[in-house]
Every structure is written in C-alpha cells, then in structure tokens.
Amino acid sequence: MIERLDQIFVILKHWLLGYLPESWQTPVGVILSVVCIIGLYPALFAITTVLERKGVARIQNRLGPNRVGPYGILQPMADGIKSLTKEDIVPTTADGVVHFLAPVVLVVVVFMGFAVLPMGRNMVLVDMDAGLLFYFAMGASAELSVFMAGWSSRNKYSLLGAMRAVAQMISYEIALLLSSVVIVMITGSLSLVKIVEAQNHYTWGLPHWFIFTPWGLAGFLMYAIAGTAETNRSPFDLPEGESELVAGYHTEYSGFKFALFFLGEYVAMFSISGLGSTLFLGGWTAPLEVLQFIPSWIWFFGKLFLSMGVFIWMRGTLPRLRQDQLMNFAWKFVLPMCLLNLFAAGLWHFMGAGWLRWVVCSAILILAYVSIGREGMRRKNLGPRSYRYAE
C-alpha cells in the first residue's frame, strides 16, 4: 500500500501507456512526463508568488495581498490575466528577433534542467550518466539569454544590467560547479540517481545525507550562496533590483514576455533548489528511518518548498549587495572556500571511517572560514576615485 502510494505516478503512467501499441509507448511516455513537468512547475510558480508576497509582507509587519481570493490565494490568476492582456511594447530601435527570442531561450533552457532531477523513487525523466554535467550545461546557457535580453533592448541601462548580471552569473557558476564537484568526487558518479542512492542509507535512524558531514555542510552553504546568485535573487539581485537601473535587463519587456522572465527566474529557483536537495539533502529520501512510509515525492517537494521558504526569508532580511561587493565575495571568499572544501573532502575519503576524520575536516573548514572571512573580506582602503575610460 505504501509502495503503491510512493510509486503512484509511475503506476499511472504505465497504466496509461498500456493502452498504446508497443512502438508508440516510449515517445508518448516521454511526452507525458514532459507535459507533467511543464504543467506542474508553473503551477508551483503561481503558488510561490503569492506565498512570497505574503511571506515578505509578514516579515515587514504588513499583510500581503488578501483581496482576490480567500487570503489572496487567487492573486496569481489576476496577475496572469494582467500580464496576458497588457500591451506588448517593443521599442522601435530594438532588435526584433533577439528581443523576442531572449525570454523563449531562458524558459526553454531552464525547463531542460528538470530532465535529470529525480523527483521521487524511479521518477526521473532521463537517467543520464552525465546528468549533473547536463544540468550545468543548461545553466550556462541561461546566461546567454540574459545577455540577449539586455543587448536587444538598445537601452544603455539594460545593457549595463545585463553585463552585470552575466558577470555575476559567471563568477558564481564556478562556485556552484566546485561545490557540486565535491559530491561527485565522494560518490564517484555524475548521475543524480546514483547520488541520491548513495544517500539512501541510515545509521541509528539518521540518514547519510551529505549535509551531515563537515565538507557537506560547507559545500551546501557555498552551493546555497552560489545558487542564490545564479538566479539573481536577493541579496544578489542588483541586475533586477527595482531601484537600480529600473529593472535591469528586462526593462523594455512588458506583458507576457516579462511574465516569461519572471517565470524563468522562479522556475530556475525551483531547479537549483531541487538540485541542491538532490546533492546535499538526500533528494527524495526521508530524514528519519521511521518516516519512510511517507511517499518519496512528498519529501522531494517538501524540501523544495523549504528551500523556497529560506529564499523568501533571505529576501526579506538581507539588503542588496553592491556589484563590487558581490564580485569580491565570489572570488575572494566563496572560491577559496570551495577549493579548501574539495581538499577536506579528499582527506575525508582517504582517512577511512572513524572520529578522527570528523575532527580534522571540521577543524580545517572552520579555520578556513574564520581566516578567509577575516582576510578575504577585509575592506580595502579606497583612495581617491580614479576614472578609467574604455579606449
């Protein structure tokens, strides 16, 4: 019974495919799964927008939207109708084709990332051997769409926002990759399904999630920071902050295209949270051995919503980072910490089981955190301003 509930979507899919002839089953199966993903995540996006507005409002001592439905939950419908019926303004000097393609490219690339995420036991769309690499390849392509959006608007400020955004995304992508490489090193495989399987063991009722190891915790923190910066989310939302550069690279977009950018950003957030929970928080595994009766997909989406909650919490709390503070942070703190994390994970692997490796790895990481935190983030003395003009 519990097994059936856990595998209910797989069973449903096989039952539906049973009605089709042999040769049609694989393509239709793939299409069915793709349609489910494309239908599910925008629905989650709609719910998340309301939760975010109400959550941030409560943090700021006010009520969020509460007029549209009971407690405002139908607000996304109103937003959807608004963005669909708004006039689609394209500047006359804008580059038409590129202007149109930028949000399309963003949404396509972001949805491709979901192809390798295991959303439950046996519930992954494509079980690729190099799944993690595929995911990061798609993430790298998203930067291109940001640049396309900024450049095609023929707007100095959009362009500036786009360049800042691309610089930020590239810097933090390295941090993202390095913090995931630790996991690949320990597990020995790039396939996300195998990574979750490696975390599916329990000792004294507690799981073997990678976050419960010293290098896993440091890696998770670095991954979270880098993930927040990749999706241009507060406190790293300088490219799209409302008081900076109007709206950054999507200034000249209105109506549905803007809604697509918004959708792309939130779905990218889901995607990165999903990957983070797969790599560090055990994907669809339950936190305690006794709780395994709850279906795996509920755990996956629960962790996803938890990550969303933390994103919203951080948005309500932290002020925006300035561009140079952002870049300093990436290159002087996150990157050295990631490299040292790699070193600590290697030590962990070769030291063999026991309490010694816990102590040594934790000591290295804490020492690194304190010293790099002090040295790398020391405010440099800014002398008189020196201007540099592009030749």
Binding site: R58, Q60, N61, R62, L63, W313, G316, T317, F333, G373
Partner: protein
C-alpha cells in the same frame, strides 16, 4: 565573525514573521474600508452648521451675520438672509440663513470661519469620504446637507463641544438673569405704578420670560449661578 550579522538579521525577521500572527504591534495594517484607524480629536476637514435639539431648521444656531462669508479666504461660503425671524437659544428673535452654501471643493479647511463665528454656529467636521461623481454640484453643500446636530458635534469633538456648551450655557444664564432682574424691576414698577401701560410692558416681559423658562429647564446648572447674579442687576 563573518555571517554573524546575517544570522541575527534572520532571527529578527523570523520573529517578525511569527509575531505578526499573534501580536498587534507586529502587524500594524488597518484594513480600509472594513476597519478605520481612529482620527485624533482635533482632526478637521470641512465645516458644518450646528443645530440644537431635534429640528434642524428651528434649532440652527446660525444667525446669518455673514462674518464667516466675509472672512473666508477663498470665498467659498454663500449666505442669503431670511426675511422673517425665529427665536435663538436665549429666546431672542434672530434672522436665519435662507441659503447657506459652502463649496467644499474650494474650501481650504483653514478654520477661520469657526474662529470668527460669534454664535458657535459653524464648526469643523471630520468626514473625509466625500468623493462624488457629480462634477459640478456634488461638492456644493447646501444648508440642509451642512446641518448636523449638537449631539453629533459632541461625538466628533467631545472636549470642544463640552466647552462650547458650557460657554453657551453661561451666556444664556447671564441673559436669563438679566431678564429676570428686568422682569422683577418691571413687576415692581407695575405694582407701584399705573396698571394699563405697565401691564402691557409686563405682558411683553412675560411673553419673553416663558421662552427662556423651557430652555432653563434643560440647563438646570444655570439655576444656582443665577441666584448670586440676582444681587447684581447690572451685568
């Protein structure tokens, strides 16, 4: 250490979030129009005319002296005097305004009309939900729309209304005392002098005396201060 401030900030916002469900001070939103935050007592928006008692026409305090019309800076008051007279709160016959229009789209809420009115007839109202879709006459309030009862005035400005009532009561008491003294003097004269001419005077004095009497029944507090005033016929 790096990150300490961030953690403290996160704890503070979490406290805000959780507290907004339980305590009122962490959720200060007033959901208009279902709830309204209370206005301070000295709030003022546009003027209204005070009337005593139940009938707004009979109890209207305004005597159409036109001082407020002359003093109003944007000249938003328009008064037309009546041809007949009606008795005011002390019983004296006064003219009343046949037309009293205030254009509140012009009014600038300076309160000068209130300050200069010698009869405490015009006071400031606090009503602000006055939006109308009638562009030309919607914000031109006439006498009937401007008249509000004294009880209403007590509701919106309690301390001011109490002061005004006390002052009016004092004045009425003084007038009554004067009238009583004059009546007594006249009665004494009538008793001493001839009957025909002074009886007419006494009848006249008597006709004006019953008018303050029902009003005196309302203000019983004036009874006691009236007594020491008897000793001073000249006020």
């Amino acid at each position: 250490m790096l990150g300490e401030g961030i953690l403290k900030g996160l704890v503070e916002t979490a406290r805000n979030f959780a507290g907004s469900y339980v305590s009122k001070e962490r959720l200060t939103t007033v959901e208009y129009p279902e709830e309204r935050s209370p206005l301070p007592e000295a709030a003022r928006n546009f003027p209204f005319l005070v009337y005593d008692g139940d009938d707004w026409e009979k109890g209207l305090r305004c005597v159409a002296c036109q001082i407020c019309e002359k003093e109003c800076p944007p000249k938003c008051i328009y008064i037309e005097k009546s041809k007949d007279k009606k008795p005011d709160y002390v019983g004296k016959l006064q003219i009343y305004p046949a037309k009293f229009d205030i254009d509140i789209s012009v009014c600038m809420s300076c309160q000068i009309c209130v300050e200069v009115c010698p009869f405490e007839a015009i006071k400031m109202d606090t009503e602000f939900e006055l939006a109308t879709d009638d562009r030309f006459r919607g914000l031109l309030l006439d006498r009937h729309q401007l008249a509000r009862s004294n009880e209403y005035y007590h509701e919106i400005h309690p301390t001011e209304a109490a002061e005004v009532d006390a002052r009016l009561a004092d004045e009425k008491a003084k007038v009554e005392a004067k009238a009583k003294a004059a009546a007594e003097a006249a009665a004494a004269k009538a008793a001493a002098g001839t009957s025909a001419t002074t009886a007419a005077d006494a009848a006249k004095a008597g006709s004006s005396a019953p008018a303050p009497k029902p009003v005196a029944a309302e203000t019983k507090a004036s009874a006691t201060p009236a007594k020491p005033n008897e000793g001073e016929p000249k006020a």
